[in-house]
């Protein structure tokens, strides 16, 4: 009974998807929205990477909502796990010498790579989300090498809330000085392709990168610190 339901469901979904697949044709020309973005973006937003301009400026409100969703996920995880103040030292778990030495060399490099990726987000592929993920991976490596290491929750919360606050402040400045919420033209656009260009885009993307990095590190740190006990 259960299996026949499942097969009917999968078949219905496959039929629905076959409709999309059979009518799909490889396009030769851009559609209207994409044509507008591709032809007007260099003069309007001034970023060399069109995807960055769409994520930060044209669809900036979506990105703000997206960062809020990630913040809520972090908050709920911290709330559910309810870690104790002092940490239980797990002496059974020992790491190898190679991993510890490798982590000492690699962690600072990964942090700098993450910062490089989100500062250059408007020129090259990459940006706040990718840079934040690289920073999160650096923290993961740190915790892998020494699971009993204490990563400060206060510092994470401070970075996370401060960058979120300044993100919204820059958005409101755009409302006052330039054309609308999260408009990047509060600073001059500058020369296309140089590091200091595209108005507020590098600044906003740096705040997004710091926020995403702090959130990912917070999730991993919370889960790593939790100790399962019998009572809920």
């Amino acid at each position: 009974m259960r299996n026949s339901f499942l097969i009917i469901l999968i078949a219905a979904f496959a039929w629905f998807m076959y409709d999309i697949f059979s009518e799909y044709q490889t396009q030769e020309q851009l559609n209207k929205t994409a044509a507008y973005y591709n032809s007007n973006e260099p003069s309007e937003a001034g970023a060399a990477n069109v995807v960055t301009a769409i994520v930060v400026t044209y669809r900036g409100l979506d990105t703000l909502g997206e960062v809020t969703v990630l913040f809520l996920a972090t908050l709920i995880i911290g709330f559910i796990l309810k870690n104790k103040a002092e940490k239980i030292i797990d002496s059974k778990y020992k790491t190898s010498e190679i991993l510890e030495t490798g982590a000492k060399v690699l962690v600072p490099g990964s942090l700098i790579l993450g910062v490089y990726i989100f500062i250059n987000g408007h020129l090259t592929p990459g940006g706040g989300f990718q840079g934040g993920a690289v920073i999160g991976s650096a923290i993961v490596l740190l915790l892998l090498a020494d699971p009993n290491k204490i990563v400060s929750h206060k510092l994470m919360n401070f970075i996370e809330s401060t960058s979120g606050f300044f993100y919204v402040v820059i958005g409101i400045l755009g409302l006052i000085i330039a054309g609308g919420f999260l408009d990047n033209r509060i600073f001059p656009l500058g020369k296309l392709g140089s590091l200091i260009s595209a108005g507020a885009i590098p600044l906003i993307y740096s705040f997004i990168g710091l926020k995403v990095g702090a959130e990912i590190s917070g999730i991993v740190n919370n889960i790593n610190e939790t100790e399962l006990t019998d009572k809920l």
């Binding site: 299996n3 499942l6 469901l9 999968i10 979904f13 496959a14 998807m17 999309i20 697949f21 799909y24 490889t26 396009q27 030769e28 020309q29 851009l30 559609n31 929205t33 994409a34 044509a35 973005y37 591709n38 032809s39 260099p42 060399a48 990477n49 069109v50 995807v51 769409i54 994520v55 669809r59 979506d62 990105t63 997206e66 969703v69 990630l70 996920a73 972090t74 709920i76 995880i77 559910i80 796990l81 090259t124 592929p125 940006g127 989300f129 993920a133 296309l192 392709g193 995403v212 959130e215 990912i216 999730i219 889960i223 939790t226 399962l228 006990t229 019998d230 809920l232």
Partner: protein
């Protein structure tokens, strides 16, 4: 009908979604269900990116050599699906982490991960 790389990617996305859906409904362990949903997620992302591809074009990044301000209209692909998928991947990570933490809590309450054991609200 000629075969192009975006058609293959579209087909791949659809089949990944079907496999993920089958896994999410047929498996018993909660961890395996979350794993199937993450396969479903990857399938959706591949599908959306393949819809924005245009034949023989390159990424919408002005480098002054192949892509310049003058010819970006003719050589670059659609940037909108990329921007959508970029945020979708990050949200997918947050949702997966949330589901895993709930799985941990469910295991703590009943000492099992079998989905059929959790029937408290069913009567």
């Amino acid at each position: 009908m000629t075969i192009t790389i975006d058609k293959i990617a579209l087909f791949l996305g659809i089949v990944l979604m079907l496999i993920g859906l089958y896994g999410a409904f047929s498996l018993k362990s909660i961890i395996r269900i979350i794993l199937s949903l993450s396969i479903f997620d990857t399938g959706i992302n591949v599908l959306i990116v393949s819809l924005g591809y245009l034949k023989g074009r390159t990424a919408p990044i002005i480098d002054g050599d192949k892509v310049t301000v003058e010819n970006i209209f003719n050589v670059a692909i659609d940037p909108v699906p990329q921007a959508l998928v970029l945020t979708a991947i990050v949200i997918g990570f947050g949702v997966t982490a949330l589901m895993l933490v709930y799985a941990l809590k469910l295991y703590q309450s009943k000492k099992t991960l079998d989905i059929n054991q959790f029937s408290d609200l069913k009567w």
